[in-house]
């Protein structure tokens, strides 16, 4: 049946590069991948020879990386699988901008659900430091239309900043004030960055030997607006990182998963939505959420939502229709009808910029459109900082990006969505103290979770929901 998995699929083991870094000249891209794969395989108690035998008999390989430009290497996925000893197992690359990692994990799940394989390893990597930052910005901007948009100031932080401006122009004075939004932006930036200080592999962790003093360590609220405007209205510390990094996740069918781990995490829902790459071509339809039947089940039952959404021009440049579509499809597959804020214990979302967190919480239906800031405004501030790994949304709320996300932990594009799947898996398996080196970021007893991956200015977005399998 369309919109369902033909059999159960579990995430069973994950691994990451030893340290995410702004620049790690010690490792080539496939050597970073080796560190991640070695950890994922080793955690299953398998020798590499045993794992490779499983792959040969019952498995497949997905490799994800974003831009050939960064490493100056076409078909890098072939070099990666060669280096990892995976030949001649079936293997291919999945790519979709910033959602590359998330799409790769979903492809691995689908490969098993279809019966084509019983075990798949999805490996993601990106090595962004071999060009300087300005060149890297330009490569990323090549993921806008190079005919029409790129020649006009092509720069992704500007694209997102323009969306932030659109969000302000749409909702300020209606659901929120400008001060409340700026307050929420700064709290989000501090939350991500300071969470990462308890994740020893994070690029901004003060414990990471590859971190530089100017780009690591704790920050305070006032540091954010002191960091300087990058593109109006966004500050430097509102923005994500650029990273050298890799990660790997192993997924399996139920019987094999249970034979390899006593803590399988089952996939319950997959969603993947799209929208125009040129943001100017996105619809601006009054009542668009209703007309396109994009409301979520819990929203339909609430007259306040209906009133708000009848007038809202959607998606405009303020929201991601692709994210809403992905969430709706994932929730339908998972049978989620209640308020998502109260369903999930933990989410890892694509915080490319602080505005994306605000937008994504609404796309995911955590709060009504225009209302995300309040979730973060409620966070207490002590000595200029919000609490480490705070629960968001009150007693029945959830944890957002304990890992530090793209702002604090890493954004090595082809690896990012994969890394966040690993973070969720480790949370569910109770491995955070072991893997991060600190217990503070462990979410207490998580049973359901979501990870989200996002490309461009919202051109391709994935949502994957999972539940504990023991």
């Amino acid at each position: 049946m369309a919109g369902s998995l033909n059999r159960k699929v579990a995430l069973i083991s994950g691994g990451k590069v030893n340290y995410f870094a702004k620049a790690n000249p010690d490792l080539m891209f496939y050597e970073m991948a080796m560190q991640a794969v070695k950890e994922a395989v080793g955690d299953l108690g398998l020798k590499p020879k045993e794992f490779r035998k499983l792959l040969r008999e019952r498995g497949g390989v997905i490799i994800t990386h974003f831009a050939d430009h960064f490493a100056g290497q076409l078909l890098g996925e072939a070099l990666t699988r060669d280096y990892l000893g995976f030949n001649p197992v079936e293997s291919y690359r999945i790519v979709g901008g910033g959602a590359t990692g998330g799409l790769g994990v979903q492809a691995a799940v689908e490969k098993i659900a279809s019966g084509r394989a019983d075990i798949v390893i999805a490996v993601g990597y990106e090595k962004m430091s071999e060009v300087d930052t300005f060149q890297g910005n330009e490569f990323i901007a090549l993921a806008s239309d190079t005919v029409t948009d790129f020649p006009n100031g092509g720069y992704y932080p500007l694209y997102y900043a323009a969306m932030a401006q659109a969000y302000l122009d749409t909702f300020v004075g209606k659901t929120v004030t400008g001060e409340e939004i700026r307050d929420a932006f700064s709290k989000i930036a501090v939350m991500m960055r300071n969470n990462a200080q308890y994740n020893r592999r994070a690029q901004t962790s003060h414990e990471n030997p590859y971190a530089t003093s100017s780009t690591s360590g704790f920050i305070n609220i006032e540091d954010v607006t002191r960091s300087g405007i990058v593109a109006t209205p966004s500050y430097r510390l509102d923005c994500c990182l650029m990273t050298d990094g890799a990660s790997a996740i192993i997924v399996a069918c139920e019987d094999l998963a249970r034979s390899l781990t006593d803590k399988p995490v089952f996939v319950t829902g997959l969603g993947n939505g799209t929208d125009c790459m040129r943001t100017g071509e996105r619809q601006r339809t009054p009542g668009g959420l209703l007309k396109e039947e994009l409301m979520l089940p819990h929203e339909k039952e609430d007259p306040e939502y209906l009133k708000l959404y009848e007038e809202l021009e959607y998606p405009g440049l303020h929201s991601f229709r692709a994210g809403r579509w992905a969430a709706k499809k994932a929730y339908e597959m998972a049978g989620i009808h209640k308020k998502p804020l109260e369903v999930f214990d933990l989410i890892e979302i694509h915080d490319a910029f602080v505005i994306s967190v605000i937008q994504t919480m609404e796309d995911l239906g955590m709060v009504p459109y225009g209302h995300s800031a309040k979730l973060f405004n409620e966070l207490p501030v002590e000595n200029g900082r919000v609490p480490i790994n705070p629960k968001i949304g009150g007693e029945n709320g959830l944890y957002i990006n304990p890992s530090g996300g793209l702002i604090g932990q890493m954004h090595g594009v082809g690896s990012t969505g994969n890394t966040q799947a690993v973070d969720v898996l480790w949370q569910m398996q109770g491995k955070i103290e072991e893997k991060y080196g600190h217990p503070e970021l462990q979410v207490p007893d998580p049973k359901t979770a979501l990870f989200h991956s996002h490309a461009g200015t919202g051109s391709d977005i994935t949502v994957t929901t999972v539940e504990r399998g023991w």
């Binding site: 870094a21 702004k22 620049a23 790690n24 000249p25 010690d26 100056g72 430091s129 930052t133 300005f134 060149q135 910005n137 330009e138 901007a141 239309d145 005919v147 029409t148 948009d149 020649p151 006009n152 100031g153 092509g154 720069y155 932080p157 500007l158 694209y159 900043a161 323009a162 969306m163 932030a164 401006q165 659109a166 122009d169 030997p209 590859y210 300087g228 405007i229 990058v230 593109a231 109006t232 209205p233 966004s234 430097r236 040129r278 943001t279 100017g280 071509e281 440049l317």
Partner: protein
């Protein structure tokens, strides 16, 4: 694709992060593309017209085959309709079309390498409103660079006007935008007014 490798000086900042004795080279790659604008070529030709430049869009009027049963107007133009797959038709935006800022941002501190020496760079997403009885809006916004005396004063809803490169580069930046009423001496360097779109005219 000429590729040139040279050993990198160990004083280069790329070595600062290394914790092992790696060898790093500087690799230079030079690529030339011959890029066709295909079916969009009339639009590019239009904005290359200097003082006679024209802004073209395409329309598909097969309303009955569209999701919302309306004609669709595209700028950025497209040769084929994405909803009914019929070929579109070219139209010219009249001189008294209103161009209105829908959203914008100004890159102040960082940018891609092509724009680093031009900061601050403002990019706006601009809505075109036709001078017909219904004030029909094009269905898409066009992104373009806005040159203004003070980017901090720019706001949603501002009226802007197109200006065109005197020596066209044959790309989408051959059109830039200035606020309605901007004096000629305040135009971006190298850009001129088109006879077809007066900057001073009031609407």
């Amino acid at each position: 694709m000429p590729v040139k490798d040279t050993i990198l000086n160990r004083q280069d900042k790329a070595y600062r992060h290394a914790r092992t004795d790696v060898v790093i080279v500087q690799r230079e790659v030079h690529i030339k593309y011959k890029k066709s604008y295909g079916g969009m070529s009339p639009y590019i030709r239009g904005i290359m017209g200097r003082e006679h430049a024209r802004l073209l869009y395409t329309i598909c009027d097969k309303a009955e085959d569209h999701d919302d049963l309306k004609p669709l107007r595209f700028q950025v133009p497209r040769a084929d309709c994405p909803e009914c797959y019929a070929p579109t038709h070219w139209q010219e935006l009249p001189g008294d079309t209103r161009f209105i800022v829908e959203t914008f941002s100004t890159a102040v501190d960082l940018a891609g390498i092509s724009f680093m020496d031009q900061l601050p760079v403002t990019v706006a997403w601009i809505k075109a409103v036709l001078p017909d009885d219904e004030n029909t809006e094009l269905d898409t916004l066009v992104a373009g660079m806005v040159h203004s005396e003070d980017y901090k004063k720019l706001k949603k809803g501002d009226d802007v006007r197109p200006v065109f490169r005197k020596n066209p580069a044959s790309n989408a930046s051959d059109v830039m935008w200035v606020l309605l009423g901007t004096a000629v001496e305040k135009f971006p360097s190298g850009y001129v007014e088109s006879k077809n779109y007066r900057v001073q005219k009031n609407f």
